[in-house]
């Protein structure tokens, strides 16, 4: 087998949504910030969604790397398709809504964390991870959160 054949293909959950794009490291969410009204939007947008804002002068910015858990749940059941996981391999995984210092809340799964380890008010770090290998055999790269 040649080297090219063994190389694992990767695909991002979306372009320009988080940085860096290499999995396995701490990272940041990229959101759209309206310079006119100050509000943030995620996924990033071509415009400001605030109906009170007339200027709508937007830029993409990296959010703070850490935030506070505003609320949590967990996927006790294995997630349905297109998520790829064998039913027997699934372990209940926490899902968190994280309040970033900028005021925007970002939702994601926790990495390497049991449901009982999560609580409202805890600090978490944005991380870039391979979520799973998709049906096409590509590693899907997205964001998660980890305990600080």
């Amino acid at each position: 087998m040649t080297e090219a054949q063994t190389e694992q293909k990767r695909v991002l959950l979306g372009e320009g949504l988080f940085t860096p794009t290499e999995p396995g490291v701490d990272g940041q969410i990229i959101a759209t910030h309206c310079k006119s009204c100050g509000d943030y939007f995620f996924p990033r947008s071509f415009t400001c969604h605030n109906p009170e804002c007339d200027e709508k002068d937007v830029e993409d910015v990296a959010l703070s790397p850490t935030g506070i858990v505003d609320t949590y749940s967990d996927m006790s059941y294995p997630p349905p398709p297109p998520y790829v996981v064998k039913k027997e391999d699934w372990v209940p995984t926490p899902v968190v809504s994280v309040k970033m210092p900028e005021g925007i809340h970002i939702i994601g799964m926790m990495d390497e964390c049991k449901p009982e380890e999560v609580s409202i008010g805890m600090e978490v770090q944005t991380v870039i991870r391979v979520l799973y290998t998709n049906k096409s055999g590509e590693e899907l790269v997205g964001w998660k959160f980890r305990k600080v």
Partner: protein, 395 residues
Amino acid sequence: MDDIAIIGVGLHPWGKFPEKFWTNMASDAIYMALKDAGITWKDIQIVVSGSQNWGGRKGIYAGSYIDEVMGYTGVPTMNINNACATGGTCIAVAAAMVASGQADIVLAVAADKSAKGFFPFLPPYHEEPVPADDTMRWLMGLPNPVYWALECRKKMEKYGITDDHLAMVKVATSKHGAINPAARYKKEFTREEVLASPMVCNPLRLFEICATSDGAGAVILCNAKKAKQFTSKPVHIVGSGLGSPLYGDPTTRIPVLGFEPKEGMPIISESWVAARSAFKDAGMGPEDIDFVEVPDNSSWHYFQYLETMGFFEEGTAHLALERGETMIGGKLPVCPSGGFSSFGEATMAQGFAQVYEMVLQLRGECGQRQVQGAKVGMSEVYGMAGNNAALILKN
């Protein structure tokens, strides 16, 4: 709104009907409603139909295919999709058509066949340059109930709501459903049985989340001045309201992945908007309502809708449930039909199940589960992405 009457209702049973196509379920509901009103298909002047997510191209134009099986008569036909609030929306739009004088007799109808378990992912045909949150959340493994669970956990911690309270919602709704011949699940659940059901998305357990279902319903609306010639028991639509969210709504709404809550904004603001719009339309307030059908998609919904609609202060609906106030015979019977917990969610059609129950209650035809002296009923139906339809009916 005070000059619209419901003269006929029909409801296809809820359940799984693999042998039956949804056009057939819709036509069954329509024939039942026509019979109830004492009219024929040819008397219908406008069709307002729910369009559906799971029926492919045919489902998008559901009303057009319902016209086909009923027999084309050339009537204006609308296909409406407001997610799971579609049923309520169809009836509200049909009411507006009658109120505006566009027609005297209007049919609202919807049928749905939903998948088992979690609703399936519907991939977009054209993806956006930045993938939609509703695409990414599926890829990330976040189905609908996890959104409800996130809100539920926050509410529990804030107001001291317990797992017992969540279970008691199912106990309460199943008690009503058990005595409703139209309900799909007629079993009364105990708190222990609910608490023993598997966790789906913590803190929500399997029996605290409504099932998915097939179902269909039809409602025939008429100019109230002409209603007497069809029925001796017209039920009037006195208020209706549709809602979309307010900017800065703090709810973890399906399918958001990022949102910025603003101070003072109501949770599920689309419900807040629709309820207030319906109350204003009717010249009424929560105190005038004798019973309510809320969208009890989960135990969280039951509490949150009762509060957001204005029946209880924020963070107190679980105490009212504890006191038995939300049972038939209590101060404000909630979901006397048994709710979605006893029917299952036939997404586009479920608003019709609520209105079917309200009409039977207001005609005094509910037997064992009759809300004594019921004069005014209200319903709200919840749809993803910030859809809501509220209706107030009076006998």
